[in-house]
């Protein structure tokens, strides 16, 4: 190190020490970790400033997480397992809450959160925050799987949006026949080997009236019906209703196909809606939205408090402020992330769809469950393995990983 650089370090260190000395002794400093808000207008700085104004003596620093969900999860695990997390309030993907609660990293908020207020939220968001009859987080923003459809193409055939996956396949086939356009796909969904595939197959199982994990916590309570749901996904490909690109498709790839006018039905999250209606979109004004048969999977985020925080009361005040109706509305207006309260969703049809959302299995082992299923589900939709065998293989591996 050159002498000059050494001097800069010394000066910076001195400044840092001086900065610490200036802080008032009774001041509470909270750190809030969250993923970056999409878009240009980040509503968080204003919300936090507002919180500080209402709670004199509390200062909030907010630090964004890494970009991708995988890396965010790793960041949390490394920092929380180290016991010196360096943050008090954290934003959690809804599928992590049970895992982090079981690991002992989250503050139990059951007694702080009045029962009457829990009822203000969509029940699936609260269910995903519950483990062992205790509550570990507060709903913040919500996501749900939606069925997008080309209202113009369906209308021409006199069809109403389908309420079962069997009807969806028949309608898609009918519209494709009538259109006679080889590049028009019947049903676009996410079949790449990743979390999204698990989401899509779960929704298929719900459409079949069964589930991946039963109410008693047992894996695959009805193996035959689960296999039938998975086999139906494979059949969409063999019948040509879903194009081959589905087997490597994520949300964006299918969104672009449908947005370019090359799909009759699309399974995707609510964010796609605004993009379809944007100026210059070839499908603007021609896209309808309906509930997925059997309900859409729940996505979104919770707010939780780190169990090791030195300021649980201040942290709880911050969580309440950020999850308040006003804050949720501000976030929805600024960046389009949806509120978790039915009262704040103005569109009645959308409210009904959100109310039908279902959480993915609420278990501390969700990451293991999903990672083990992904290659097997992928093999099944590609036809490399019969659906029943793929599920049985996944079950056998999970029996080893999850053994008591």
């Amino acid at each position: 190190m050159t002498a000059r650089r050494a001097w800069i370090v010394v000066v910076l260190a001195a400044l840092a020490v001086a900065g610490c000395a200036e802080r008032r002794a009774d001041e509470v400093r909270l750190v809030f970790r969250h993923s970056r808000m999409p878009g240009e207008r980040d509503p968080l700085p204003a919300l936090l400033r507002d919180f500080e104004r209402r709670h004199p003596g509390i200062v909030v620093a907010h630090e964004p997480l890494p970009w991708t969900a995988d890396v965010q999860h790793q960041f949390y695990v490394i920092n929380l397992e180290g016991r010196s997390a360096g943050f008090d309030v954290l934003m959690l993907d809804v599928i992590w809450t049970a895992e982090f609660a079981r690991a002992g990293w989250l503050l139990d908020v059951t007694d702080r959160w009045p029962a009457a207020e829990r009822g203000e939220h969509f029940p699936s968001m609260v269910e995903a925050a519950t483990l062992g009859d205790r509550l570990w987080a507060v709903p913040w923003v919500m996501n749900v799987g939606l069925l997008y459809f080309r209202a113009d193409l369906l209308g021409r055939q006199g069809l109403a949006p389908p309420t079962s996956y069997a009807a969806l396949a028949e309608q898609a086939a009918a519209v494709m026949r009538a259109a006679g356009e080889p590049r028009l796909a019947g049903f676009l969904w996410q079949g790449k080997q990743y979390e999204g595939l698990v989401v899509n197959v779960l929704e298929a199982m719900w459409g079949e009236g069964t589930d991946l994990v039963g109410r008693d916590g047992r894996l695959l309570p009805e193996p035959a019906r689960a296999a039938a749901a998975l086999a139906r996904r494979r059949a969409l490909l063999t019948r040509g209703i879903s194009p081959p690109l589905v087997t490597a498709a994520d949300e964006e790839l299918t969104r672009r196909e449908f947005g370019a006018g090359r799909g009759v039905f699309l399974r995707n999250w609510p964010y796609a809606r605004a993009l379809f209606e944007a100026g210059g979109s070839p499908v603007a004004g021609r896209v309808g939205v309906a509930a997925l048969p059997g309900g859409g999977a729940l996505g979104g985020a919770h707010l939780a408090i780190h169990a090791g925080t030195r300021h649980p009361d201040a942290a709880w005040a911050l969580v309440r402020h950020l999850a308040s109706p006003d804050a949720q509305r501000a976030i929805a207006d600024a960046v389009g992330l949806h509120p978790t309260r039915p009262a704040l969703v103005d569109d009645a049809a959308l409210r009904a769809i959100f109310a039908g959302a279902r959480p993915r299995p609420v278990t501390p082992w969700y990451q293991t469950l999903s990672a083990t299923l992904q290659p097997e589900l992928s093999a099944a939709i590609l036809g490399l393995k019969p659906a029943g065998q793929a599920l049985a293989d996944a079950e056998r591996r999970l029996a080893y990983f999850l053994r008591p």
């Binding site: 695990v77 080889p182 080997q193 990743y194 490597a248 498709a249 370019a260 293991t368 290659p375 393995k385």
Partner: protein, 291 residues
């Protein structure tokens, strides 16, 4: 100074290096082997000694043998292609008379890119409807739209092609450096003796390149056995696990699902494989060079 004194001095001088090695290499190796004998999920406070159960499970796990097969195939095909193309590029470069510097910098470009960037580039090249590959394919066969990353027969070749594009420059550069060092007189003598272009290449160029190629082969093989970034970004190991390498398999258990014991067992297997390959390579080349 006595011989004993010399030896003591040698140990004293070696001590810093040895202690660093002990901390950064020996300790982690011992620790990971110990971990592999446990069922350990630290975040849930699970830590049970299970003996060789993790290895027994690996031995009968179809996904693990799938990852073995994928790793072997990826290694053999990508390294072979890189060697052939690398030598060809270097020989061509050597024959070039003008603009060598420009060619060299262009050649090095893929090698300079971070793996993540290469992955993203190829993600777009392979995009089913908007990608460069399918635009080119459409010129030849109008109706064909291969699903490069979603078809289980095409996904691994597609990933291998990306890896070859990225690492061929490394081999080319090593070989080119050797070729520059060969005196022109050697080739002049060959020409005087009436050797054709083919004979010159097989009898003179290639034997001269042997030491460089053996080193390149070792480096590239060990890299390929540990391949991770391209498949992580392009396919996530899919479809149906056909691009899941051993390191991706270990990553899934270690970092994604936090099963430290089981993940360590798979990491030990990868480590053992790398050591065996390196030893085998050194033994084979050492023996031949002695002859």
């Amino acid at each position: 100074m006595t011989a004993r004194g010399d030896r003591r001095l040698a140990w004293v001088l070696l001590a810093p290096a040895l202690s660093v090695l002990a901390v950064v290499t020996v300790y982690p190796i011992v620790r990971v082997i110990a971990l592999s004998l446990e069922r350990r999920v630290p975040i849930f406070g699970i830590a049970d000694f299970v003996g060789l159960a993790n290895y027994a499970f690996l031995a009968r796990d179809g996904a693990f043998w799938g990852a073995m097969r994928v790793t072997a195939l990826f290694t053999v095909v990508s390294v072979a292609a890189e060697l052939v193309l690398g030598v060809a590029a270097a020989v061509a470069l050597r024959a070039q008379r003008r603009g060598v510097a420009i060619s060299l910098s262009l050649l090095l470009l893929p090698w300079c890119l971070p793996g993540v960037v290469t992955g993203r580039i190829f993600e777009w090249i392979y995009h089913p409807s908007a990608g460069l590959m399918n635009r080119l394919v459409a010129v030849v066969v109008a109706s064909a739209q291969p699903n490069w990353l979603g078809d289980p027969r095409l996904a691994l070749p597609a990933v291998i092609a990306a890896d070859v594009w990225r690492t061929t420059p490394f081999i080319a550069l090593l070989v080119y450096a050797r070729l520059v060092g060969v005196p022109a007189a050697v080739y002049e003598a060959a020409a005087v003796d009436g050797a054709g272009r083919g004979a010159t290449f097989w009898r003179i160029t290639l034997p001269l390149l042997r030491p460089v190629l053996l080193v390149a082969l070792l480096f590239r093989t060990l890299d390929a056995v540990r391949a991770f970034d391209l498949m992580f970004i392009l396919t996530g190991g899919g479809p149906a696990g056909v691009t899941e390498t051993l390191t991706l398999y270990a990553y899934r258990s270690l970092f994604q699902t936090l099963q430290l014991g089981f993940g360590s067992a798979s990491a030990v297997v990868v480590g053992a494989l790398v050591v065996a390959l390196a030893w085998g390579h050194l033994a084979a080349t050492g023996e031949r060079d002695a002859v």
